[in-house]
Subunit: 330 residues, 2 copies
């Protein structure tokens, strides 16, 4: 089995490549080849037993998508994207990568299939950013996609394309809407959602963190480990029951900031929670107010997707896998 | 006020051009110029008092959209599309016109606005084909778009683009999802929805018509006159309350085939209803089974959109405006 990961240089992509590469198999099939692609040559994770090639490809450039489709991989994970804030700042870049890049990949696969039958499993990482307020809490599986950002629009459009290319038999597509990933490893970043990880990650390392919103803010969270498990499960499940609705909201944990701080106290003691500086930021508050708070992800749950059920678990996963010096820090 | 109608050669486009051109004004503003565009030069409707130019433009070709944006019209009606059946048969053509054409127009307007401020009202004709089963009956305004055809996918994607280009301030966009138009004037066509008009239109002319489905089939209908009124109302209403959800399901009449036949009997006598041949067609039945039956179009209703409330009215509109020899047969 040949596996292609596009966007293999990102946090989730590296972790996915490491997990698959070390296990050497997917759903009982031996991985005979792995191709890791990203805009810059992605790292090959340590301990990988499968034969692996890493390469730099721009899917938004003519020829990039075709080159990747020509590998005729059995399973393609498409994780590559310009992130939300950057797609909002740079309108053309966001559309070029997140829309044209995804469409280019689907179209290159269709054309590859016209040459000789080719219908790969295509796992697409979408986002809960396809939803925008007003919405009910929780949001059901059949609620309208009304994104508040260009990034969300690009993901929603990609979902529609994935559905149509799958319905027409050009790919065997499945999309998964990832919750906000907590705890993201690494340094603080400028993303509006960064504080959801920061208020746990920094105090766990004995460092101060800023909380820009009220403690009542609730959001939909899952660990990096869950994100990888979602992707692997999506790559292996029977897609015949999906119909045209090929993208599923992933399960997650609806936690308030207060829930997060309580868990931090339990795991790391009250002094850790003292490291959080409450400094409200109206811009961030405004952005976060438009984000989903919770879902009833019935379809995904019925198909066997599972996630953490407490913030304590999110912290445990971080300490076990993602914190500096953890055994599985990819 | 300069008005541009793209897709002015189609049934609704011709009727819109005639209505606006004869009235000479839109929302109290004098129409100083009308530009009618279509893939082939559209006809100039009779009785038009505004200065009018008709031209052939392919919006899916490089330069076509730019040329239209360069007119800097105040109001743009975008009705051009490859219809459902053709978009299903010809995958590439459907995407080229219905997706790339619409995106090309929005992008050309954005670029025209970079040269010198330009934010036209952009009225986009979408379709209830953005919905696919399973769905509740009636379908609420916040139900997920899950099209069962490439045409529906292309319309749903265009709605998302319209929303994002409007949110970013590049156009003042509004989309309207048209019901199935009944009674369509003219000859029977091969569309799966054709019988909804045919079982009224043909008997009204003393001719036989085929009914390929059961009388219990229910669908969402409005007259050609309502379609034109929707478009004109969309061109003039205050869009500030729309938020990012820029496309509205239009009101219509939820009528069963039996309702249609009853109305035909009332208007044209029992002998007219005898002209309907019941000849079930499993292919058409299958297609129609996936179509919406009714809606609760609350947002559009609150914004003042109205439609017919009985099949009798649909027939009256046809006889008054659209039947051969009617006074306003555009």
């Amino acid at each position: 089995m040949h596996i292609l990961i596009i966007g293999a240089g990102g946090m989730v992509g590296r972790k996915l490549a490491g997990t698959l590469g070390r296990s050497g198999s997917l759903d009982g099939h031996r991985i005979t080849r792995m191709t890791l692609a990203d805009i810059a040559t992605p790292p090959v994770p340590p301990g990988v037993v499968a034969p692996v090639e890493a390469l730099a490809v721009d899917i938004s450039e003519s020829g990039g998508a075709q080159a990747l489709a020509a590998y005729r991989a059995d399973v393609i994970f498409h994780l590559a994207a310009i992130v939300s804030g950057e797609a909002e700042r740079n309108f053309e870049l966001g559309y070029r990568v997140n829309l044209d890049g995804t469409r280019g990949l689907l179209e290159a696969i269709r054309r590859e299939g016209m040459r000789e039958t080719y219908v790969p499993r295509f796992v697409f990482s979408s986002s809960i950013a396809v939803y925008g307020s007003p919405f009910p809490d929780p949001i059901p599986d059949d609620y309208v996609l009304a994104p508040l950002t260009s990034y969300g629009v690009q993901k929603a459009i990609s979902e529609l394309l994935l559905a149509d290319y799958s319905r027409r038999g050009f790919v065997d597509g499945i999309g998964i809407r990832l919750p906000t990933i907590v705890i993201r490893p690494g340094a603080p970043n400028a993303a509006a959602s960064g504080f959801f990880s920061g208020i746990l990650r920094e105090p766990l390392a004995g460092q101060r963190a800023v909380l820009p919103v009220e403690e009542t803010v609730k959001h939909w969270l899952a660990s990096p480990r869950s994100a990888v498990r979602f992707l692997i499960h999506a790559a292996t499940l029977d897609t015949s029951s999906l119909g045209v609705r090929r993208t599923l909201t992933m399960p997650g944990l609806a936690a308030t900031v207060a829930d997060q701080i309580d868990a931090l106290r339990r795991v790391a003691g009250p002094e850790a929670a003292e490291l959080i500086d409450r400094r409200r930021d109206e811009v961030i508050e405004g952005i976060v107010a438009g984000w989903p708070k919770s879902f009833t992800p019935e379809r995904a749950t019925q198909l066997g997707f599972t996630a953490e059920t407490s913030v304590d678990e999110l912290i445990e996963v971080y300490l076990a896998e993602d914190a500096p010096g953890a055994s599985r820090g990819d």
